[in-house]
């Protein structure tokens, strides 16, 4: 049932992207998303695509793994695409069946929309494929540090996240063990209607919860015994360090945003005939 021991989708290879600082990767992703939403035409979208392609090439992650992440949103993508296609208005009517009318603008907008979402998911997938959950947590903690000024418990939040990550494999193992044990006692998780199945989960859920609480209690004791007393006077061993890679990434994404903004303004001067045809209303 829960066969996958590894979690997250980290793809373990060594590459330029893998080695760069998680903070910069997070910021780059944010910049990329901003660029995608700033993009007002296909030209701007195209340079977003160019940038994400460069990133994918230098990450040495197979394209298949990146594309696989689309699966998660495919239903949403198709559903919204269809709605857009049928109900987005426009000037050039192409076909109509009753209340459903398809305009040229609708098609162009739908294509634009689909690509934008597609690129968005590709970018986020690339981050999780090249960054371990631990690195991500460290990066998030470091980025949130300024919030300490408004007494936001950054350290505690990061510790909670890191403990959660630490216990995911342990709890998956435990769940598998309990499922096997109850199966050995004749429990049936695979047949029956929805109510029967929910009822069948109880013998797994209760032992799991009890064990999670027991673990939490023991972990608390162990942390106490190792002198944990909150974030006061605490030092941090791991420090993230910026390198030349991060400079390159920063430059790349800075130029991405600049490029998108410039293309938004001056797009009509590049191949005006084509632009006029694919212009979004």
């Amino acid at each position: 049932m829960l066969n996958d021991v590894t979690f997250g989708q980290y793809y373990p290879v060594k590459s330029f992207v893998h080695k760069s600082d998680p903070r910069i990767k997070l910021l780059a992703l944010i910049a990329y998303i901003v660029a995608l939403f700033l993009a007002k035409n296909f030209y701007s979208l195209a340079i977003c695509f160019v940038v994400v392609s460069i990133a994918i090439i230098f990450s040495r992650v197979p394209l298949g793994s990146v594309l696989r992440s689309i699966k998660a949103i495919i239903v949403l993508l198709i559903f919204t695409a269809i709605l857009n296609l049928f109900f987005h208005g426009g000037e050039h009517l192409l076909a109509s069946w009753g209340i459903i009318k398809i305009y040229r603008e609708a098609i162009i907008f739908t294509v634009f929309f689909v690509f934008r979402l597609f690129f968005l998911v590709m970018g986020s997938a690339l981050l999780t494929l090249t960054t371990t959950p631990v690195e991500l947590t460290d990066g998030i903690e470091s980025l949130l540090t300024p919030l300490k000024w408004i007494r936001f418990p950054v350290h505690e939040l990061a510790l909670i996240m890191s403990i959660a990550l630490r216990f995911i494999p342990t709890l998956i193992d435990e769940t598998n063990r309990i499922i096997s044990a109850q199966k050995a006692r004749g429990a049936d998780f695979e047949s029956g209607n929805i109510f029967k199945r929910i009822k069948a989960i109880v013998p797994v859920l209760i032992p799991l919860l009890i064990s999670a609480f027991r673990r939490a209690e023991e972990l608390g004791d162990a942390m106490d015994a190792r002198c944990y007393s909150g974030s006061k006077n605490r030092t941090k061993y791991k420090k993230l360090k910026l390198s030349w890679r991060d400079l390159i990434i920063t430059l790349l994404f800075a130029s991405l945003i600049t490029g998108v903004v410039l293309l938004n303004i001056y797009a009509d001067r590049i191949f005006p005939e084509i632009y006029e045809f694919i212009r979004l209303s």
């Binding site: 590894t6 403990i163 096997s180 050995a184 009890i210 972990l219 004791d221 002198c227």
Partner: protein, 609 residues
């Protein structure tokens, strides 16, 4: 040497009771002093107050009465608690529940970070601590991929990184296999001897307690005996009154001496062999051989034999993490056997037993299975097969449900699978799943008899919540929940793990009773070679997914060297036999303690000299 005499921990008439049970003292007037650099072991039955003692030392618990001083600081004063925790490191039982980070070095850094050590110094401490536990190669590994012993060593490193003067191990070896246990104990011994660290080792294993300078025995919240291990284990009868067992070796010595021999009270197998040989010599026996051992005979109708052929299994076959867990296993287990499965954690034992009740189905029995076409010229691939009695596990149509009712499976730490609101409904769970058409009376009768079978009082426990029972009772209830369907084959994965010596003995007795009265075949998975030697008719050694050897204990352990080469232990009796053979004394016993002492006495009596 004046420094060594310094008392580092002082307990004066310490009392403690847990909230909710104020009139039961977990500790009742304990006086104890620990000297600097001392290696103290604390033994006692479950619930004797050992763990409470550990938690009081560094203020995780607060005493109700009396006074505790650590390094001259009073633990009761709140301002001291952090300072004391810097000097007293505790390693707990479950290594999984002590780690906060997903990377070894981050976890080791946690302690020093908490007390505000400089970054560079933390780096040095990580290096030192990991080296001290022999794990420096694993600095950037993930704990979840390490073995139990390795994890526990990381936990020790995490505690060491704070640079404590006192190291407390609270049953830290209880959940480990013998190899892991050896690793941890070696580390602890070295820290004590080379770094001069004060060590308090709380344990169930009498053999570990022997390593200490001094041993303290606890019973019902009181310290009842204290002295060197030799002194403690001379008081055999007393120990039994405190619900403890003698180390096996002391048991053997006592039996020999009660029957006219004069063997020295030693704690190591080699020394015992020397002493036995001297005894023989003084009687003029310098060369002896006992007759060949008789193995347990089994009576069997062979109606419910287990037959495994060519069994291989790979986890996550198509992913990058594919691991071969089983490789070409051929195994036959007769009906009526008390069969043992031996091997390390991760050797494939659990995968093997899960095949026996189709928790892991053979590929041919999977719904989606299609026969692969074989290219011309290539041999037909051998496919695995398992038959159990009349069940053919290669068939999709095999009645897996009734198979699971006939092959009962008790997993490791089965008490963690209890879930129902009362003992009765937890035990009846399996029965109701397997047999839908039972009347209320039939169910009640079956539940009653299985609860009574495991040695609990039906009327007393049936309405109790299983979570209110003691550890040993919980395990019994869990076993009752499996045997309630009266399986013909009962498989138990480490049935005695984590129990105290008395609990272990009781579980073994229960298994024999089950074997005689209810389940024709009993299969146990165990790390404990003595347990295998004492109980099993035959055993298989699984190593790295292969069945390396399958034989009676006496044959299996007669070749001690090859067992050790696999990193496995050898039962005490066969170690002594091995040592004795150097003196030209060949005792051919079936590896049980009783048979060994009988044979030695027989030779000593001169009958077969």
């Amino acid at each position: 040497m004046a420094e060594i005499e310094e008392n580092i921990i002082k307990f004066e008439k310490v009392k403690f009771s847990y909230p909710g049970s104020e009139n039961i003292y977990a500790l009742n007037g304990v006086d104890l002093t620990v000297r600097k650099g001392e290696f103290l072991s604390v033994i006692g039955h479950n619930g004797s107050g050992k763990s409470t003692l550990a938690r009081l030392i560094n203020g995780l618990l607060e005493a109700d009465g009396g006074k505790i001083e650590v390094l001259g600081m009073n633990v009761a004063e709140g301002k001291n608690s952090l300072e004391i925790r810097k000097h007293v490191g505790i390693v707990f039982q479950n290594p999984d529940n002590q780690m906060v980070a997903s990377i070894v070095e981050d976890d080791v850094a946690f302690g020093p970070e908490n007390i505000g050590i400089e970054r560079e110094e933390i780096g040095r401490r990580i290096e030192w601590a990991l080296k001290a536990v022999g794990m420096e190669k694993y600095r950037t590994s993930t704990p979840s991929r390490l073995s139990g012993g390795q994890k526990q060593r990381i936990a020790i490193a995490g505690v060491l990184a704070v640079k404590p003067e006192i190291l407390v191990l609270d049953e830290s070896t209880a959940m480990l296999d013998p190899k892991g246990r050896r690793e941890v104990i070696e580390v602890v011994k070295r820290l004590n001897q080379e770094e001069g660290m004060t060590v308090i080792l709380i344990t169930h294993f009498m053999e570990e307690a022997l390593l200490a300078d001094r041993t303290v025995v606890m019973n019902r919240g009181e310290i009842v005996l204290s002295g060197t291990p030799e002194e403690i284990f001379e008081n055999g009868d007393k120990l039994e009154a405190y619900n403890l067992c003698l180390p096996r070796i002391t048991g053997i010595i006592n039996t020999l001496n009660e029957n006219g021999m004069n063997v020295k009270n030693v704690l190591r197998a080699e020394e015992l062999a020397v002493s036995i040989a001297e005894n023989f010599k003084s009687k003029g026996i310098d060369r002896a051989a006992s007759p060949k051992a008789e193995d347990f005979a089994i009576k069997s109708d062979h109606e419910f034999d287990i037959d495994i052929k060519n069994l291989s299994f790979t986890y996550s076959r198509k992913s990058a993490f594919a691991t071969k867990a089983l490789k070409d296993i051929d195994l036959h287990i007769d009906e009526g056997e008390f069969f043992g499965i031996i091997g390390h954690t991760g050797s494939g034992k659990s995968t093997l037993i899960q095949h026996l009740n189709a928790l892991i189905k053979l590929p041919q029995a999977e719904k989606r299975y299609r026969k692969k076409r074989v290219k011309k010229g290539q041999p037909q691939p051998v496919s695995p097969s398992i038959t159990i009695g009349s069940y053919d596990l290669t068939q999709k149509k095999c009645d897996f449900k009734s198979l699971r009712a006939d092959v009962g499976m008790v997993f490791q730490y089965p008490e963690y699978q209890l879930f129902a609101e009362s003992v009765f409904s937890d035990v009846e769970f399996g029965l109701k799943n397997f047999k839908k058409d039972l009347s209320k009376e039939q169910i009640e009768e079956a539940v009653r008899s299985s609860i009574e079978m495991v040695g609990l009082d039906y009327n007393e426990v049936k309405d109790k919540s299983p979570f209110d029972l003691s550890g040993g009772q919980k395990r019994r209830v869990a076993i009752a929940g499996v045997i309630v369907t009266r399986p013909k084959i009962l498989i138990l994965d480490e049935p005695a793990a984590g129990l105290d010596p008395l609990g272990k003995k009781e579980i073994c007795a229960l298994l024999h009773k089950l074997h005689e009265e209810w389940c024709r075949t009993v299969i146990i998975v165990s790390h404990d070679m003595d347990e295998i030697a004492e109980n099993c008719t035959r055993a298989v050694v699984v190593s790295d997914g292969r069945a390396v050897a399958c034989d009676t204990p006496s044959n299996l352990f007669s070749d001690g060297a090859s067992m050790r080469a696999l990193g496995l232990d050898v039962p005490l009796t066969s170690v002594i036999c091995e040592e004795l053979s150097r003196f030209d004394i060949n005792i051919n016993c079936n590896c049980t303690v009783k048979d060994f002492t009988d044979k030695v006495l027989e030779v000593y009596g001169g009958k077969n000299a």
